[in-house]
């Protein structure tokens, strides 16, 4: 008991330590890009400037200080949530990110849900009948999804379902302009419109969500499908299941057991996909004019304003690392071996 407590303690400490180190690594990289590769002075000074103004700004933002001091200053700002000010929206980057995060979270959550809803059952079915028609279909769909450039698939869907068939609204944002955003509760229009009890707004919100979410679901779910299928096959072929079958354990019990053992890696993969989606929506947001973090970063780029981009990079890598940490801990709950690994 005590041993296991200590094991846990060390495990958590180690994992958390690595998490912090990774965060530190990320901040060093973003620091290098903003302070060393790019020159923030020219971005701050605007178009009309002289040498004196340049020097003043250099001093003001501490570019005349030694490198480690500059980094400490940068990291200190980050810890205080100061990600700088956007040159094109004139808002603190953190504020902008806060405003746009719900849009991206909503889109990626829908995409994840849509992906999981088909990928996990398809993976299981494919594992049960490896040579069956369903398995082949799942395989084909996974291959297609993984090879499909998301932004192009988005354009394709827009062309077919909007421009030609008119089944879905124009790819412009989250809700029809004539309806307007609902009262802010969660920031997710598909939920806020429900809370407001506005059917029309809800349908509008969902109809705007479906195509971009579908695009992302198609391109990101194959890994979930593959891992479900692979893991399920492994479990079904394991000695335990074979002997359980040999001893005449009823089929549904066998499957239930197999499923439970499949769950761990599948959940890890789903978590990873979610972690990836937060930044993986960029191009799809551009295609559908979805006002989330990705579009924000692209707008910033088009204004040569890279503090917002770096803010989004920091946020999404932090999010990814957090998800990674969480899935490690989750796995350790089920598999004691993980706890003693590095």
């Amino acid at each position: 008991m005590l041993d296991s407590m200590r094991e846990w303690g060390f495990f958590l400490l180690r994992r958390f330590g690595f998490f912090l180190i990774a965060l530190f690594g990320v901040s060093v990289i973003t620091f290098t890009v903003t302070h060393k590769i790019g020159n923030p002075v020219y971005l701050l000074v605007g178009t009309r400037y002289n040498q004196e103004m340049l020097d003043n700004i250099r001093r003001e933002i501490g570019l005349d200080r030694p490198l480690h001091e500059q980094y400490l200053r940068y990291a200190g700002n980050l810890l205080q949530g100061n990600l700088g000010i956007s040159r094109f929206s004139y808002n603190p980057v953190l504020e902008d990110i806060g405003r746009r995060l719900p849009a991206t979270l909503e889109l990626s959550s829908w995409a994840l849900a849509m992906g999981v809803l088909w990928a996990v059952p398809a993976g299981i079915l494919a594992a049960l009948r490896p040579q069956g028609r369903m398995a082949r279909l799942a395989d084909l769909a996974a291959r297609t999804g993984v090879s499909m450039p998301g932004f192009w698939l988005g354009l394709l869907l827009i062309f077919v379902f909007f421009a030609e068939l008119h089944w879905f609204p124009a790819p412009l944002g989250r809700i029809a302009r004539s309806i307007g955003p609902p009262q802010y509760v969660t920031g997710w229009y598909s939920i806020d419109t429900l809370l407001a009890g506005d059917r029309e707004a809800f349908f509008s919100s969902v109809s705007h969500l479906i195509l971009p979410a579908l695009t992302l679901a198609i391109t990101t779910s194959p890994s979930t499908l593959q891992i479900t299928r692979k893991r399920m096959q492994e479990v079904l072929q394991s000695d335990y299941i074979r002997s359980a079958r040999a001893f005449g354990l009823p089929g549904n019990k066998v499957y239930r057991y197999a499923l439970r053992n499949t769950l761990g890696p599948v959940i890890t993969m789903i978590a990873m996909t979610y972690g990836y989606l937060l930044s993986g929506t960029v191009l799809v947001e551009v295609v559908f004019t979805w006002p989330g973090l990705g579009l924000y970063a692209v707008d910033a780029m088009n204004h040569s304003d890279y503090e917002p981009i770096m803010g989004v990079v920091l946020l999404s890598s932090g999010f990814y690392l957090l998800v990674y940490l969480a899935s490690d801990i989750f796995n350790a709950l089920f598999d004691p071996r993980v706890r003693t690994e590095l």
């Binding site: 990774a22 990289i29 499909m148 932004f151 993986g280 960029v282 551009v286 780029m301 890279y306 990674y324």
Partner: protein
């Protein structure tokens, strides 16, 4: 015959083993088509195609016809010719970035796996950080800050490939540490570095090559994605992502050809690369 080496029966060729594992049709089809695409790209300048960068302002956004089977784009350039010439751009960029990633990543992984210990855990952790990095976003930021050039694009993609290959080579190297031929080389008095580079690294080639098409597929998607938002490739260089972007504006008005054809070419290429990677992968798994 040297000590430790065994007489082995005539080994079947890679291709034969691949066919045995996957069925000849699948292997022929995938590899054949991929080679065809590469060949098209290589021979593009010799083919009877329109000049891919010759604009014709009087012939813009023309629908597919006999003269222009894929239509013309916003500059009045022939989409077919550009789609084929883009193979050169996209494949060259993808392959060079992956190659660079291997050149840096593979030795790192081999060193890390061979020496183990602290160096190993440091390298492993660093690779993990990179893998969690929002790659498109970060690419955007670096290209915006460091200059929007093809060289920078290749460097960024190589940067992403380094951890992929160091991780893979490390995992292959770990069991090799105790392999007979490595120990023999060590006993023979070779320096650790020379053991790593002469004896360990060559043995990681097969898994590295099986990963290669997959990395190229991924790199091609990244290149096209970044070009789609105007990064990396200068206009009017034929490149799938920027071609898709150029045509995207007219897609909603029914002029689909300028975007759809290059996208299709990208999709098919990535598809084939992924399949070929699977074929290679089946070899590695069997071997292990």
């Amino acid at each position: 015959m040297l000590a430790g080496e065994q007489a082995i029966p005539e080994r079947p060729s890679l291709l034969q083993r691949m066919m045995r594992a996957n069925g000849p049709l699948r292997v022929r089809l995938n590899i054949g088509l991929l080679l065809l695409i590469v060949l098209l790209g290589l021979l593009a300048p010799l083919l009877p195609l329109h000049d891919p960068v010759r604009p014709n302002p009087l012939n813009r956004f023309k629908a597919p016809s006999l003269e222009h089977p894929f239509g013309t784009d916003g500059n009045g350039m022939d989409v077919l010719s550009r789609t084929i010439h883009a193979i050169r751009t996209d494949f060259a960029l993808a392959i060079s970035s992956v190659a660079l990633g291997i050149v840096v990543g593979a030795p790192l992984g081999a060193l890390s796996g061979y020496f183990g210990g602290r160096l190993d855990s440091v390298i492993t952790r660093i690779t993990e950080v990179f893998q969690g990095f929002p790659q498109i976003l970060f690419g955007m930021a670096v290209l915006a800050a460091a200059g929007n050039t093809m060289v920078n694009l290749v460097l960024i993609l190589a940067f992403y490939n380094v951890p992929v290959y160091s991780k893979m080579v490390r995992s292959v190297t770990l069991p090799l540490r105790e392999a007979d031929f490595v120990q023999a080389a060590r006993v023979a008095g070779n320096s650790p570095l020379s053991v790593v580079f002469r004896h360990v690294l060559p043995n990681t080639l097969v898994p590295v090559f099986s990963q290669l098409p997959l990395s190229c597929a991924y790199a091609a998607q990244m290149i096209a994605g970044l070009s789609f938002i105007g990064l990396g490739v200068a206009i009017p260089t034929p490149e799938w992502g920027s071609m898709i972007q150029l045509g995207a504006n007219q897609l909603v008005f029914g002029k689909w050809w300028a975007s759809i054809f290059p996208g299709l070419a990208l999709f098919i290429s990535v598809w084939l690369l992924n399949n070929v990677s699977d074929l290679f992968g089946s070899l590695v798994v069997r071997r292990g």
